[in-house]
């Protein structure tokens, strides 16, 4: 099922807020997970698993290293859902 970038961003905001305690209002497409949002490597695993469940996509481990910013994740999930 196709997903809109806006829906994916909204969903990711909720996930990152839950996992890392970052206020959803500060989570934007250009934010870096590690440097800006304090999502460390362990928390990133939580974000990925939660995103897979929520959006019904597979995010392979080898793809996760390329998900540097929130925008990278939104693009990946939108493409994976097509």
């Amino acid at each position: 099922m196709a997903l809109s970038p806006a829906d994916v961003l909204a969903g990711l905001k909720e996930i990152v807020e839950e996992v890392a305690g970052v206020s959803a209002s500060t989570i934007e497409l250009d934010k870096n997970f590690t440097d800006d949002l304090e999502v460390d490597s362990l928390s990133m695993v939580e974000v990925v698993v939660a995103a897979e469940e929520r959006f019904g996509v597979k995010i392979p481990d080898e793809a996760v290293t390329d998900l540097v910013t929130v925008g990278d994740a939104v693009n990946f999930i939108v493409n994976a859902a097509k």
């Binding site: 305690g21 362990l42 695993v45 939580e46 698993v49 897979e52």
Partner: protein, 410 residues
């Protein structure tokens, strides 16, 4: 020259209170922290009660922080933050700052919860925080990270002697000049159906389901086992000159420790108490104290039929007739048994007892067991003498571990 070690901060989260002050007030008032469990699983067990912490960690820390921490780690951070603040948040060279915090069982609740996740959702459902949460050194490691301690972070494990052993280890770290300040103590979070079923299978737990608050009754003729408790205690230990130089509040001195092992049985106490006697003698010698200096003792006394008498006999044999001048308190009658946290909260109690010159009561003794021939402080707190005084804290663990800590007024 010997480096002396003093106590400059205290922290606790216990079945009696959210911090040291509220815990101490309830302890002196003779309150019980034991209650019926509210979880449905209690009906699977022969024991329906335990001593949960008075205040949930959720009321003392942020949600996001909590979800990456096992309950034992949450207790460690809560108590360490209080202790560190109580010590005046000392400005110390991080390479001279250490952490020694024990746990008897580690993150057992995390282990079991994540096993449930594995069975339900498969490997992908297991949290990436599982291992840092279940490792027994997790409480020490998290406190070490928060304070950026770099002199060493350690976790001795010796069942119910763990908390006391951690404090003794910290004493040696400062004496041997590895550090100037150590955050030391012990925590436990094992109120869950599996560990409780295990202790119950050993017949170690009281089954007094009709009167939970009366169940922990060390030295009472009708005692029938211990009551599982949770929480933790933290002492900030500091080298004496270092504490003086920064104008720290000094509670008392940790003057020595004695360690031994029974070589007798994996769980039962040696009825002759030979190992306990040796640990007491070693502690006195290590502290350079005589039996006449001791005015108060916080006993291990868990409320098991065999353990309480074996310890009391060993105390009399080790201290001779001077035991008659010692006010013996069994505070597990109020807190339950915190396993790896026990020796730590009881050390907090000793430090407070020396400061306030007050020995806490032992509650629930309806008929003193005639086999117990020590002077038990019953029902009401008792004043301790003026002048320079010293006190001992006994802790013993499954496996035959014996740890005795000696504290003294400055």
């Amino acid at each position: 020259m010997t480096r002396r070690v003093v106590v400059t901060g205290l922290g606790a989260t216990t079945p009696l209170g959210a911090d040291v002050d509220s815990t101490w007030a309830a302890l002196i008032a003779g309150k019980s922290g034991v209650h019926l469990l509210t979880e449905e699983w209690r009906d699977l067990l022969p024991v329906h009660f335990a001593a949960r912490v008075h205040t949930e960690p959720a009321d003392q820390m942020e949600r996001v922080e909590m979800r990456r921490l096992d309950r034992s780690e949450q207790f460690a951070l809560v108590a360490s933050r209080e202790a560190w603040k109580d010590a005046g948040s000392p400005d110390v060279d991080k390479e001279r700052l250490g952490v020694v915090i024990a746990s008897g069982i580690g993150g057992v609740i995390t282990l079991l919860d994540q096993y449930d996740n594995l069975k339900e959702k498969g490997a992908r459902g297991v949290s990436p925080h599982t291992v840092p949460m279940l490792m027994p050194n997790g409480p020490a490691a998290n406190v070490g990270l928060e304070l950026q301690a770099k002199a060493g972070v350690h976790t001795p494990v010796s069942a119910c002697a763990s908390g006391a052993e951690a404090i003794g280890y910290a004493l040696e770290m400062i004496r041997t000049n590895r550090a100037d300040i150590i955050v030391s103590g012990g925590v436990e979070a094992a109120i869950h159906q599996l560990p409780m079923a295990g202790f119950a299978a050993m017949k170690a737990l009281s089954t007094r389901n009709d009167a939970p608050e009366r169940a922990s009754r060390p030295y009472d003729r009708d005692r029938d086992g211990f009551v599982l408790g949770e929480g933790g205690g933290i002492l900030i230990l500091e080298e004496y000159e270092h504490a003086k130089a920064r104008g720290a509040k000094i509670y008392c001195e940790l003057v020595g420790q004695g360690l031994s092992s029974d070589g007798y049985h994996i769980a039962a106490p040696d009825p002759d108490g030979a190992g306990v006697q040796r640990a007491i003698k070693f502690a006195l010698a290590n502290a350079n104290l005589s039996t006449k200096d001791i005015v108060h003792l916080n006993a291990h006394a868990t409320s098991t039929p065999a353990g309480d008498v074996a310890e009391a006999n060993a105390l009399r044999l080790a201290l001779g007739s001077d035991i008659d001048r010692v006010a013996v308190s069994a505070t597990k009658s109020m807190t339950g048994h915190l396993l790896g946290g026990a020796g730590a909260i009881e050390s907090v109690f000793i430090v407070k007892a020396l400061q306030e010159r007050l020995a806490p009561p032992t509650i629930n003794i309806e008929n003193l067991d005639p086999a117990v021939t020590v002077d038990v402080v019953r029902d009401k707190a008792r004043a301790l003498p003026a002048g320079q005084i010293a006190a001992l804290n006994d802790s013993f663990g499954f496996g035959g571990h014996n740890v005795v800590l000696a504290f003294a007024t400055l």
